[in-house]
């Protein structure tokens, strides 16, 4: 059933990698989680391979539990693969590091530091001279529109403002790779669109390599230059789409016929996987129709 619908879906599959060298490579990744309570080992990712080119903005979508966050955690160095290789510039990942900035879903700001000190956390650890990082922090806070809130604590900000601080904090280290794990997932729709536009403005200026996890098809197509759809657990790459809408993009692109059509196709695909995942977790007692 899955295959039938996938075959029907007229998504244009294109070879994702062009001439640019791969910045990030997942080579035949398998990741199993062992249950602490003694349940059977769970396979989150099964034999996944994916290359991400330098300066590409790759959005990863898929049903919840498909292993998209796990994939991000592997490249971030927070977890290690059960088998396979995760490479950054051809070198295996050994652990987290400031060359890969991470923006988490929420709640990752240091609650005891004000906005400015949160942003300056990275450069302080990297022994950047104080005068330099202070200037950079103020510049980057201006970029995300939070100059007036430098002295505020995270608890005093709205959810959208907190995520802007989180982005600023990750960007100040100037990481070649930016990893974003559903950073706008907890925001209201209006704020989310504004945040997406802000992120695009920043990205279109400095063209970092971005891996962006989301479950929102529209968000993926609006932001990404490439959209990768993962299957339900265990996660595999199901579809790989070049999202070559013109840049710079803004909100108006959402209404263009081409955007709407691709979005509908991808939505159907993710929906199919979500149904498969739900049926799978409900047990293997799917009603048989062959009679």
């Amino acid at each position: 059933m899955t295959d039938a619908l996938a075959a029907e879906a007229p998504v244009r599959t294109m070879p994702p990698s062009d001439d640019r060298p791969a910045k990030i490579s997942f080579r035949n990744i398998t990741k199993e989680f062992v249950s602490q309570a003694g349940g059977p080992a769970m396979k989150a990712i099964d034999g996944l391979s994916l290359d991400i080119a330098e300066k590409d903005f790759v959005c990863l979508i898929g049903p919840s539990g498909c292993g998209k966050s796990t994939l991000l955690n592997l490249i971030a160095g927070f977890e290690s693969a059960t088998s396979g290789e995760v490479l950054l510039d051809g070198v295996g990942i050994k652990g987290p590091g400031p060359d890969r900035g991470v923006v988490f879903q929420e709640g990752a700001l240091f609650p005891w530091l004000n906005v400015l000190d949160n942003v300056c956390y990275g450069p302080k650890r990297l022994s950047v001279p104080r005068q330099r990082y202070l200037a950079e922090a103020h510049a980057i806070l201006r970029q995300v529109g939070l100059s007036a809130f430098a002295q505020y604590l995270p608890a005093e900000l709205s959810g959208g403002m907190r995520q802007r601080v989180a982005i600023a904090r990750a960007l100040i280290n100037q990481p070649p790779v930016l990893l974003m794990d559903e950073p706008f997932g907890a925001l209201d729709p209006q704020t989310r669109v504004l945040m997406q536009e802000m992120l695009l403005q920043i990205w279109e200026r400095d063209n970092r390599t971005v891996l962006f996890i989301t479950h929102d098809v529209e968000e993926a197509l609006f932001l990404g230059s490439r959209v990768v759809v993962m299957s339900s657990r265990p996660g595999r790459v199901l579809e790989d789409v070049r999202a070559d809408l013109p840049r710079p993009r803004d909100f108006s692109v959402l209404k263009e016929p081409e955007f709407v059509k691709v979005k509908a196709d991808l939505f159907a695909l993710v929906r199919e996987q979500t149904i498969a995942a739900a049926a799978d977790s409900a047990g293997s007692t799917r009603p048989s129709r062959i009679k």
Partner: protein, 261 residues
């Protein structure tokens, strides 16, 4: 400006004590209970003033400062020992589960022995006097300080650790820049609990027959059936507990500049 909200809050907090004192006064004035069982509020207040500022021929008159300093000395010494042992041990064992596995079970096991059971042994080891009190206070405050520190350090939100590492923190700088600040509210609540235990064990330690100290005087006033002084001392010890808690809270938040949430 007059703050009516604040006034309302004070009113809500104070009405019950006021009512209780009125009932207390009514009961004693009506002479339903003999004065040596329950003296009147005015008698207790007079005794309290006499105890603190002096003015009568009573042996306890004006001796508050002398007894207070003795007790404070023991509380400060014991609490300092409990803190100097509990906080570093909690940090190390919370940070490193490997080391924890060797020490934690023993501490858990020893914790099952009620603090008061240590009194006879403490008397044999340290004799009657300051040593026993300090030992008991250190013991009594140690467990809550240790356990709160351990929990705070061990259960730091893992996302904060990941954020710190991905921003360039090394394992050692992670301890100072993420783990300890994140654990601070938990450590502080352990210290506050430990301090309140310190006052409790101070009384226990001074019940062993030392000459000076608020607990010692409390025991002596039982021997002389001086109920006004007993109640005065209870009020004094309770008030000192509240004041010391406030001072510590102030010290932690204002002087160390740490944020309590």
């Amino acid at each position: 400006m007059f703050n009516f909200d604040r006034l309302a809050a004070i009113g809500k907090a104070a009405y019950l004590p006021v009512v209780l004192v009125i009932i207390w006064a009514f009961v004693t004035e009506s002479r339903w209970v003999p004065a040596y069982v329950l003296p009147s509020p005015s008698t207790v207040l007079a005794t309290l003033v006499d105890f603190i500022f002096g003015g009568s021929e009573q042996s306890f008159s004006g001796t508050f400062v002398k007894h207070f300093l003795q007790s404070l000395y023991r509380v400060a010494g014991g609490f300092a020992c409990g803190t100097l042992l509990g906080v570093p041990l909690g940090i190390v064992l919370g940070y490193n589960r490997g080391i924890g596995a060797f020490i934690e079970p023993t501490i858990e096991l020893s914790r099952a022995v009620p603090g008061i059971c240590w009194l006879p042994l403490a008397l044999v080891w340290f004799g009657i006097g300051t040593g026993t009190s300090v030992f008991l206070i250190a013991l009594g405050s140690f467990y809550s300080i240790f356990l709160s520190t351990l929990g705070g350090v061990r259960y730091v939100n893992p996302v904060l650790l990941r954020a710190g590492r991905s921003l360039g923190a090394t394992e050692s700088s992670l301890l100072y820049t993420v783990i300890l600040p994140a654990a601070f509210p938990s450590i502080l609540s352990g210290l506050r609990l430990g301090l309140s235990y310190s006052w409790i064990y101070m009384v226990l330690g001074e019940f062993t027959g030392v000459n000076y100290g608020l607990g010692a005087l409390l025991l002596q006033s039982r021997d002389t059936m001086d109920t006004p002084l007993i109640i005065s001392l209870m009020a004094v010890i309770g008030t000192l507990g509240v004041i010391s808690d406030r001072i510590m809270l102030l010290f932690m938040t204002k002087i160390l500049g740490m944020d309590v949430r």
